[in-house]
């Protein structure tokens, strides 16, 4: 029996008194790979922001079951300002350790995560000179420096070409299977979500489905979102 990691009960978020997603009830265990799916504007990103503490719930609550904020690694969507930010890859990855000063321990951690992301050779390159795929790997390495138990990813494959997207998903799956990292990922790419994740949360402003991927495939939502077969 795996330990419970997150429990949401009647969770809801609002912007200016308008509920954007509500009635979220779910139970996530350690080692789970949960994918959040739904149309644009269905409250997926809001839910993620709530999960990492960027947005306070309007009702209900999230129970982290003993896990603290510092056990979570977050990969937000990239901002415009980052595209031409003068920072070396190492500086970006190290900032994930959230230490006030970087000692040998932090540098070792950063090196280990860069190696896992296969970007160790880019350490001294400038972030702004990298390709989109490389940039995402750097940000993933940073998130991994912060993550002890849970990795939270907001559309990690936005703007990447299909091959690089595939590699990105493989790296995330590897973290889940090989290192036992729990994953929560928002994605509009439903077929990949169903391929990699073992649990699905479907939002259409309120929770429509939560359960295992096998169960989800039998619902009508899966057919609607996929608009055809699963690969």
């Amino acid at each position: 029996m795996k330990a419970t990691l997150i429990q949401c009960s009647d969770l809801g978020f609002s912007y200016e008194n308008r509920m954007v997603c509500e009635q979220i009830n779910l139970n996530m265990n350690e080692g789970d790979y949960l994918c959040v799916v739904g149309q644009n504007g269905s409250g997926k990103s809001t839910f993620i922001k709530g999960l990492v503490g960027l947005k306070a719930p309007a009702k209900g609550k999230i129970d982290f079951c003993g896990m603290t904020r510092s056990d979570i690694g977050y990969l937000p969507q990239q901002t415009v300002a980052q595209k031409d930010f003068p920072a070396s890859v190492q500086e970006v990855v190290l900032s994930g350790t959230r230490a006030l000063f970087y000692g040998a321990k932090e540098k070792r951690l950063a090196k280990e995560k860069m190696e896992q992301m296969e970007i160790a050779d880019l350490a001294d390159r400038s972030f702004r000179d990298l390709s989109g795929g490389q940039q995402q790997r750097v940000l993933l390495a940073r998130a991994l420096c912060a993550a002890k138990k849970l990795l939270v990813l907001d559309e990690p494959a936005t703007g990447l070409d299909p091959i690089v997207t595939e590699q990105m998903y493989e790296l995330i799956a590897q973290q889940n299977q090989q290192y036992g990292m729990s994953v929560v990922m928002v994605s509009h790419d439903v077929s990949s979500a169903l391929w990699y994740a073992d649990h699905i949360l479907h939002l259409e402003n309120s929770m429509r489905f939560f359960g295992t991927t096998e169960q989800y495939l039998e619902t009508s939502y899966a057919a609607q979102l996929l608009g055809g077969g699963v690969r």
Binding site: S88, E91, D124
Partner: protein, 273 residues
């Protein structure tokens, strides 16, 4: 050269301008890197206009200029940061709105209190004679604060500047850092605008950071280079203005412009070569 240096240091007002100027240039450069990277460059400009309005108003009412200007500009800095994040009016229009209104109020205040044409010119374009002993002391305090922020909380500053969402999610109190940045910027601008002029002070915040970003590829190098460029450009500008009797603020800005153009050309040549 020695002779010029000696004669420069002979005048107390020059000594004050030299000390305060070097410290303020350093503060501007360090704060500027973060403001530019956060896309807040225009805030510096907006705040200097607000500072002008506040100074003019204080003079017209016979109040101590700094005691009025510093709190007013700090409040304006908070307002601008908030507008930028909540954005009912978009950030850039909000800045234009606030800065032109403050400028208009300042001009009104000056024109209503008679016989201050010289003062208005001094506020707008700065005067080397404007630095008092109190200004120098304040500059030293400010510089210590900015340096502590950048030495002790260097990694936090990077994290907050590079990715606010990530920093906040990992438990960094982003708002505290943004407020610190706003307060320090506000004080820097009010102190600096007396020498540099309300119209010109924001260039001291923006230019060194942009010049450094042309040349350097990582954050640490950008911060250090920006600080060095800022202080060197200030010194060159000050000496030019002393020797050629040109306006101090304008001389410093033009030296900064020259450095920026040189860096841009160098960067382009390096890329090609």
């Amino acid at each position: 050269m020695n002779l010029i240096l000696e004669s420069v240091l002979y005048y107390p007002f020059m000594r004050r301008a030299l000390v305060a100027g070097v410290l303020l240039s350093l503060c501007c450069a360090l704060l500027g890197v973060n403001l530019v990277l956060k896309r807040y460059s225009m805030i510096g400009d907006g705040l200097s206009h607000v500072g002008f309005g506040a100074l003019a108003l204080a003079m017209a009412l016979g109040l101590a200029p700094l005691a009025v200007a510093i709190p007013v500009v700090i409040v304006a800095a908070f307002l601008l940061l908030r507008l930028n994040s909540t954005a009912k009016i978009k950030g850039d229009s909000a800045i234009a709105l606030i800065s032109t209104s403050a400028l208009a109020m300042g001009v009104m205040a000056v024109s209503m209190s008679s016989g201050m044409n010289m003062d208005i010119l001094n506020y707008m374009f700065g005067s080397i004679l404007a630095m008092t002993k109190a200004d120098v002391v304040l500059s030293i305090c400010l510089c210590v604060c900015v340096l502590v922020l950048f030495v002790v909380f260097y990694n936090r500053m990077f994290s907050v500047t590079f990715d606010e969402a990530f920093a906040q999610a990992s438990g960094v109190r982003v708002n505290v850092y943004n407020m610190l940045l706003a307060v320090l910027t506000a004080v820097t601008i009010v102190l600096g605008m007396r020498m540099m002029g309300a119209m010109l002070i924001s260039s001291l915040i923006i230019f060194p950071a942009l010049t450094a970003m042309r040349l350097c590829k990582n954050y640490r190098a950008v911060v250090v280079t920006s600080a060095v460029i800022s202080v060197v450009c200030f010194l060159i500008g000050l000496f030019i203005s002393y020797i050629a009797a040109t306006p101090t603020g304008a001389s410093i800005v033009l030296v900064n412009l020259a450095a920026f153009i040189a860096a841009s050309i160098a960067a382009r040549l390096l890329k090609r070569g």
